[in-house]
């Protein structure tokens, strides 16, 4: 089994190198470089259309960059250029060492399949062949995300919005990924439901030592979850730093505007 202590935390897990993406003449994202370390939570913030999702999709190999490169330190400790991975390797990475939590749960869940099978699917995909063990593991994860075991055989289409997001999280975490991507995971939820989800996420991220890249336009989410923040505007990263530092004492006028308008209190 993978031993998380075997990879030194002073070596980056994910490296973005001068990433760019254009849609025709529109530069949706340009010149983005950063390093993400094991256990680190990075929030990407910025107004609508600033390129957050585009960047996240490039980082997670769902979108091919127009320029630049993304590298990832595999479980064997070797940093690999993701563009050079074969499709099978990439898909394997995606359902083992990575997670992706979508804003729209229908994109991250099988809505017509029971919660237990939604969580168990990754295990079955990596060859688990014992029903009892799959179900036990799924049960454990449902409990960890505060879903009652009486709902294990219900399909997520019968779940509330908050439950669906928690199920997505369980489905992703069951294979002990080291890196989880999230695109507006709390978007569209009621404030009280959001708060509970954020609380849960914060607990799991700390407990499991997960590295996370989370896209949000809600600075409160960034403040609560992230260690570092990257502020995007017009496809560029205009400011980056420790979360408290950037949000409490923004240097860029745009960030100041963002902070003051969204966090009026």
């Amino acid at each position: 089994m993978f031993d998380p202590t075997s990879i030194a935390t002073d070596q980056p897990l994910l490296v973005a190198d001068n990433l760019a993406k254009s849609y025709g003449r529109l530069p949706a994202c340009r010149g983005v470089s950063f390093k993400l370390y094991p256990g680190e939570v990075l929030a990407i913030v910025g107004e609508s259309g600033s390129g957050k999702s585009t960047l996240l999709q490039m980082l997670s190999t769902q979108l091919q960059p127009s320029a630049g490169r993304v590298s990832y330190r595999m479980r064997d400790g070797v940093l690999r250029d993701l563009a050079a991975l074969g499709e099978a390797e990439r898909r394997f990475l995606f359902r083992t060492d990575w997670g992706f939590v979508h804003q729209d749960p229908a994109m991250g869940l099988r809505m017509a399949v029971s919660a237990g099978a939604n969580v168990g699917e990754r295990l079955m995909a990596v060859g688990w062949n014992n029903y009892g063990k799959i179900r036990d593991t799924a049960s454990t994860w449902l409990q960890r995300v505060e879903i009652g075991l009486d709902r294990i055989d219900d399909a997520p289409r019968t779940y509330s919005g908050g439950m669906r997001q928690r199920l997505q999280i369980a489905r992703n975490l069951v294979t002990s990924p080291r890196l989880v991507f999230m695109d507006e995971p709390t978007g569209g939820l009621d404030v009280s439901v959001q708060a509970r989800l954020l609380d849960l996420l914060r607990g799991l991220v700390t407990e499991l030592g997960l590295a996370v890249v989370i896209v949000t336009h809600d600075l409160a989410v960034a403040r609560l979850l992230s260690h570092r923040v990257m502020v995007m505007q017009g496809g560029r990263v205009i400011e980056t730093g420790l979360t408290d530092q950037v949000l409490d004492d923004p240097r860029e006028p745009y960030t100041q505007l963002l902070v003051s308008s969204i966090l009026p209190a």
């Binding site: 099988r110 029971s114 699917e121 079955m124 014992n130 029903y131």
Partner: protein, 293 residues
């Protein structure tokens, strides 16, 4: 006699060559679904036009054809297809499994063991075993290409979660030659073990979906399962009321309007052959035995 107004076995030679190429490719890659340019046949899709096209492509003048539907040689569907080829190819037909060189089937594999040199042609309505959970064709193709078959177990998991056991009774998924997962067409899972290491060539034709796939002779065919919920064969727990067979797949037949029913072999040739050999069941026991009852 009038000269036949169709080509041998109805399809033109070019079409048959195209289908044969698909069949050869299918044999070369056991369990892999090969696309082919399915033709209109003078019968509706529900009648197994995929199987009919495969049969048409492989028949030769010296072949002996058997056609079964749900195990029976006598349903309208089976009779029509048999007549179709008797007329368009002039081939001999039979109801005897052991005498046939080509057997076209819908929903069953004969009980009598198949032998080398025979070809079993299945009529397939839906060739894609992953469709149940993944409707996107691009995605299922990728899953086959990368042998990502976790989803197949998701389906079995759902069965156990809902019913306490793997309730899939027909079209039970199999893995062929350790590589491709395949839908065996809507045969009962009772028949699955017969596909494994079978001396006969098994060909599958899906007309509407334009796919052909194959299991070459003596190929490993394994039914998917969980180690704590292993694959089990299912058969009604009764002997055949006509021939007394305890090893054959049974159909339930309603005998009167007062709830009377009996179980008989679904494979009519198997049942008749056994009766001709002197076997009998509860419904046709000789007088002496009946007196004891």
């Amino acid at each position: 006699m009038n000269a036949p107004s169709y080509n041998f076995a109805y399809l033109d030679e070019q079409t048959k060559r195209m289908i044969r190429r698909a069949i050869l490719k299918a044999i070369a890659i056991p369990g892999y679904q090969v696309p082919f340019a399915s033709r209109e046949m003078p019968m509706p899709y529900g009648w197994g036009t995929g199987g009919v096209q495969v049969t048409a492509a492989i028949l030769g003048p010296s072949d002996v054809l058997k056609v079964i539907d749900q195990g029976s040689d006598d349903t309208t569907n089976a009779i029509s297809i048999r007549k179709f080829f008797a007329k368009t190819a002039g081939v001999a037909t039979t109801t005897r499994t052991d005498e046939a060189s080509v057997i076209q089937t819908r929903h069953r594999i004969p009980e009598a063991p198949l032998h080398e040199g025979q070809v079993l042609v299945y009529q397939v309505p839906i060739p894609e075993p992953l469709r149940f959970l993944e409707p996107r064709e691009t995605e299922t193709r990728r899953m086959h290409a990368l042998a990502e078959y976790g989803l197949m177990h998701v389906k079995l998991y759902e069965d156990i979660a809902k019913f306490g056991h793997i309730a899939t009774a027909y079209a039970y998924p199999v893995k062929v030659a350790g590589r491709y997962v395949m839908d065996p067409s809507p045969t009962p899972k009772f028949d699955n073990p017969k596909m494994d290491n079978c001396p006969a060539l098994q060909l599958f034709g899906a007309g509407r979906e334009k796919r052909i796939y194959a299991v070459p002779p003596y190929t490993e065919v394994v039914s998917l399962d969980f180690e704590d919920h292993p694959f089990t064969r299912y058969r009604q727990n009764a002997p055949c009321a006509l021939c007394g067979a305890e090893d054959s797949y049974l159909d339930e037949i309603v005998t009167d309007d007062k709830g009377g029913r009996m179980f008989v072999c679904s494979d009519t040739d198997y049942c008749e052959t056994r009766r001709a050999e002197g076997h009998f069941g509860s419904a046709n026991a000789p007088e002496t035995e009946r007196a004891d009852v």
